[in-house]
Symmetry: C2
Subunit: 301 residues, 2 copies
């Protein structure tokens, strides 16, 4: 196996996971990951965790560009939020992490905050910056579905406003930790149940609280299948999000940035409302965004 000599190293360091890419002149040379997310590490645990993962790539002392919760107050070192409206990333605002290994030079991208309504993001700003490089001149809305979905209004290259929904986390909690878990084992899916639930939630979002327990009750007394229950829970939560996010998507150009399966669900729900959303791969966006942080790495693209 030949040695990997990256030009630079991209790092996406979230609460639960750490992912790193060795980047060459033509793109990704190698990819590694671990579960040493920010949530598991104390302040002095970040450098060792990173070295365990990318140590073999450091011979040529390539710069490391990182985004995500690694820059939070509980992270490696705080990269203070920038305030919208502003560009998603500013290479002059990166913070250098304190290191002991002389081969390491780690720049951390700051997140964004919005004063009113109060909101924050860390990591998504890098995907947004990358999406703007992949779609130059884009004006419209990005939707980044995930644990904490973000809707982001973009104009003239700046993030104008954004809003976060806990939809993904709610789905995980309700389907895995609540009484509803009994009726939705497995990974099955039911498109019709999803579609009906999205429509129901969009037209009567105030009924969400009343709809949830009926998933359990129908499982007990009306034979609701686990796959229909799962899809309906997802549809109810996504539909409720779409109802509250309507000012973001109604009559707008919308692009989804996220994992394949989840983005498909959002695209399907939006299509039913007459919105044909474009799609971008989240990792492509993260890498393009991190690359934009340095004149050197940007040139290497």
């Amino acid at each position: 196996m030949s040695e990997i000599v990256p030009v630079w190293i991209a790092v996406d360091w979230g609460t639960s996971n750490l992912r790193a890419w060795a980047m060459g002149p033509e793109g990704v040379l190698a990819k590694v990951s671990s579960d040493e997310g920010m949530g598991k590490l104390s302040r002095d645990g970040f450098e060792p965790a990173l070295l365990r993962l990318i140590g073999p790539w450091l011979g040529g002392r390539p710069p490391v560009l990182a985004c995500g919760m690694v820059g939070s107050r509980q992270g490696w070192c705080e990269a203070p939020y920038r305030t919208v409206p502003c560009t998603p990333l500013d290479r002059n605002a990166v913070v250098m992490a304190p290191v002991t290994d002389a081969r390491l030079k780690v720049a951390i991208a700051p997140g964004l905050k919005q004063t009113s309504p109060a909101d924050v993001m860390r990591g998504e700003e890098t995907q947004i910056a990358g999406a703007l490089r992949l779609m130059p001149g884009y004006d419209g809305v990005f939707c980044l579905p995930g644990t904490h979905s973000k809707w982001v209004h973009i104009s003239a290259g700046e993030v104008v406003s954004f809003q976060t929904f806990m939809t993904g986390e709610m789905f995980a909690l309700l389907s895995e930790a609540s009484v509803l878990r009994h009726g939705m084992q497995g990974e099955g899916w039911d498109d019709a149940a999803f579609d009906a639930a999205v429509s129901d939630a969009l037209s009567k979002p105030e009924k969400l609280g009343a709809r949830l327990f009926s998933l359990r009750a129908e499982g007990l007394i009306a034979g609701l299948s686990p796959q229909a229950a799962r899809a309906r829970l997802s549809g109810l939560l996504i539909g409720t999000e779409l109802a509250a996010a309507k000012p973001y998507w109604l009559g707008q150009r919308v692009t989804l940035i996220g994992a394949e399966k989840l983005s498909s669900a959002y695209a399907r729900a939006l299509a039913a409302q007459g919105i044909e959303a474009q799609r971008l791969n989240a990792t492509d966006c993260t890498l393009a965004g991190l690359a934009s942080l340095s004149p050197m790495t940007e040139a290497a693209r």
Copy 2:
């Protein structure tokens, strides 16, 4: 310590807890409880768990009257749901649990189900029956706040319809297991934050999804206190429940049956909407309901 010789024994056996009362001619003689709820027991574990708790009371072979999840399909033995509209309890519908100890005679009360919209209850039907004994001739609505809050429409001594909300479980999941937990440590409370959140959720229930993450964001960038965050989460969830349950309480006579602190929060939220709810103690209702299950125990009241 003198021996306890109950006339009968009341048992409230839920998913998480088992509680039993030694009942004499004048009321409660003694109370015991354990954490051997239905959720922790296999089918043959129920009789031993009960004997561990009430064995010393069985000298006179008093009848045991039980309600709750003990009668579910995963319980000691299934007491099939009765279908509303119907009286909350019917002593002819109790199911006798299979026992090996000759001193034991255990009757289990069935729960209620509603076909459309699908809904179920187990345990609350007994509280409702008890409430109707404590307030003879009651016509109106009962609200039973809790892990799974129930709104129940009562007319002419029957349960006409009911609806379940997962408000209490959502509060527990969001405040203890979601990203919001970071901003709401402790038991503090803030009445003004609760009131404002109830009002906000009642007027814009479709915005719940958008309001939740702002609790985290305001904690990070606007100094929201843990007690205000806690109270606001509670207010948002209770307000959303009240918005969806409006057909139950608007212009109706409402009585709350539940734990002191939680009932107070619901009473406060309803009062802001012009509804002066009456209050009943949940245990009083459970005991009165169980007593109504037997002509003998009923006479002993």
